[in-house]
């Protein structure tokens, strides 16, 4: 092909003109933990099309995950593998009988990954998950850099009080005044240490706990405390529409990071003036968290790209472009989904939705 010649002065044109390759069409058999992990990884790859997933257990969690990702679910293996144009079948059931049946029934042009190869794939997916955790931590640490102004403000104000009072105490003759000022100093020291405690707790490496029952309302309040180091909240009207006792199962550290990021983005979108609404609700097995702002909003073409890695609308050096990408990954790991509704000039709402029957059960037990 002449246009791929190395002497071509405009190689980028070749890339644009190259025909898009047909995506690899993959069928997944098994919708347990391995199936979910496969779905989560493969659906992010544009050159792979997941044509369907099946499991003999109709309540397998991967089937619900598939529906959230708009992947077709099938009740029977035979229905899935007879779809024309399947390139690859991935069997993650670990069932020897399934392997035998597939080897007998699959047409020769369809590749099959099963057994040890499937386990290798599972290991790679777990490795990917570890890398995502590392990425989350790196992005969190990058974000903490923007806390400097807020930390300095909150540390130096009580330090000014301590210094001023201590200087005054040196020649204060009134014992009652000495007593009152000493108490003020103790209080200021406590405020300063609380800042250090909040930040060291937030900046630590995320624990691997994924199944803690996390109280959402408390976690949102905690996130507000952290977010105020990154963005000035003084002129933001904060509305909390909390339904009592709303909880989800997940990693509390990751969830805190998600909320800090969403709140920080919301306040930045309002340029420090407007209304921030934090809303939680729980009905049956569905829990929702909404973070809304009255800021600048996003155009549809921006909305469609915000969950992509390294996509940012912030100026160079101000954003990593990994915040919403990481948020999406955290929420997906919790079997949840994230949606955005935004209108230019009116504002943006991010909605997190979690389905978990066990949480609903515990909630009703608690209430």
């Amino acid at each position: 092909m002449a246009t791929t010649s190395p002497s071509n002065a405009h190689p980028e044109i070749d890339i644009e003109q190259a025909p898009t390759p047909r995506p690899m069409r993959v069928a997944i058999i098994g919708a347990g933990r391995s199936g979910i992990a496969l779905l989560d990884v493969l659906h992010q790859i544009s050159t792979i099309e997941i044509i369907g997933i099946t499991d003999k257990d109709p309540s397998a969690p991967g089937l619900r995950r598939a529906q959230e990702l708009n992947v077709t679910t099938y009740a029977h293996v035979t229905d899935l593998i007879k779809i024309p144009g399947v390139d690859l079948v991935m069997d993650v059931t670990g069932d020897a009988a399934m392997l035998t049946a597939l080897q007998e029934q699959l047409p020769p042009e369809v590749d099959l990954i099963s057994g040890q190869a499937s386990r290798l794939f599972w290991t790679l997916v777990q490795h990917e998950s570890t890398l995502q955790t590392e990425l989350l931590h790196a992005e969190k640490l990058a974000g903490i850099g923007s806390f400097a102004a807020g930390i300095a403000h909150d540390m130096n104000n009580p330090l000014q009080l301590i210094l001023g009072l201590a200087e005054n105490l040196a020649d204060e003759g009134d014992l009652d005044a000495v007593h009152a000022q000493a108490l003020d100093i103790i209080d200021a020291v406590k405020r300063t240490t609380a800042i250090c405690r909040d930040l060291t707790s937030y900046s630590r490496r995320t624990s691997l706990r994924q199944d803690c029952l996390v109280g959402i309302n408390g976690k949102l309040d905690e996130a507000l405390k952290i977010a105020r180091y990154a963005v000035a909240l003084q002129d933001i009207d904060i509305r909390k529409l909390y339904q009592p006792d709303v909880a989800v199962k997940g990693n509390p550290d990751e969830l805190l990071h998600v909320f800090v990021n969403l709140i920080t983005n919301a306040v930045q979108a309002m340029e420090h003036h407007g209304t921030l609404t934090l809303e939680t609700s729980a009905e049956a097995d569905t829990t929702q968290v909404r973070v809304s702002d009255t800021g600048c909003g996003m155009a549809p073409d921006v909305q469609s790209r915000i969950f992509e890695p390294f996509f940012t609308t912030k100026p160079p050096g101000k954003g990593t472009g990994l915040g919403l990408y990481n948020i999406k990954n955290v929420i997906h790991r919790m079997n949840g989904s994230i949606g955005v509704d935004s209108h230019i000039g009116l504002g943006t709402t991010f909605t997190l939705t979690f389905h978990d029957e066990s949480v609903a059960g515990e909630r009703s037990t608690r209430s």
Binding site: N156, Q160, L161, G164, N168
Partner: protein
């Protein structure tokens, strides 16, 4: 003295000068007041830029205010906006910035705008008094 709104302190008859401290933290206003009152200054307080503009425009403060000490990070009208207002409307009143966050670029920009001093909390009482005294000297020169 009827023109002074309640809550503003007006000191003794013979003082070294009248200083307005603008800070959203009551604790900061309290220690600055404590330090400067000991050095015989009248101290007025405002919790943000908006209130500060009210104070400076009220009654005899228009004429008698000598020095403004202003924080940067405050609600409503922040320090940057307030300082721009003071420089435009009261160019003869010297300004001292007292901030919790040292920012070299901002300090340079503010000093270029005519701010007398850029102090970073926590600042020792002696340093604060020396800064106010320097600002008072500048105030005197402005009157000549």
């Amino acid at each position: 003295m009827n023109e002074f709104k309640s809550g503003f302190f007006v000191g003794g008859e013979s003082t070294n000068g009248r200083v307005l401290i603008v800070d959203d933290e009551p604790d900061i206003r309290k220690v600055v007041r404590m330090t400067l009152q000991k050095a015989s200054y009248d101290v007025l307080e405002a919790e943000n830029g908006e209130k500060a503009i009210e104070v400076i425009n009220s009654g005899e403060n228009r004429l008698l205010l000598d020095v403004i000490i202003c924080d940067i990070r405050m609600p409503k009208v922040n320090g940057i906006e307030a300082i721009a207002y003071f420089r435009q409307n009261y160019p003869r009143v010297p300004l001292i910035v007292l901030t919790g966050f040292p920012d070299t670029d901002m300090a340079t920009s503010l000093l270029r705008q005519g701010v007398v001093d850029y102090l970073v909390k926590p600042v020792e009482g002696e340093k604060l008094k020396a800064s106010v005294a320097r600002a008072m000297d500048q105030r005197e020169l402005a009157h000549l």
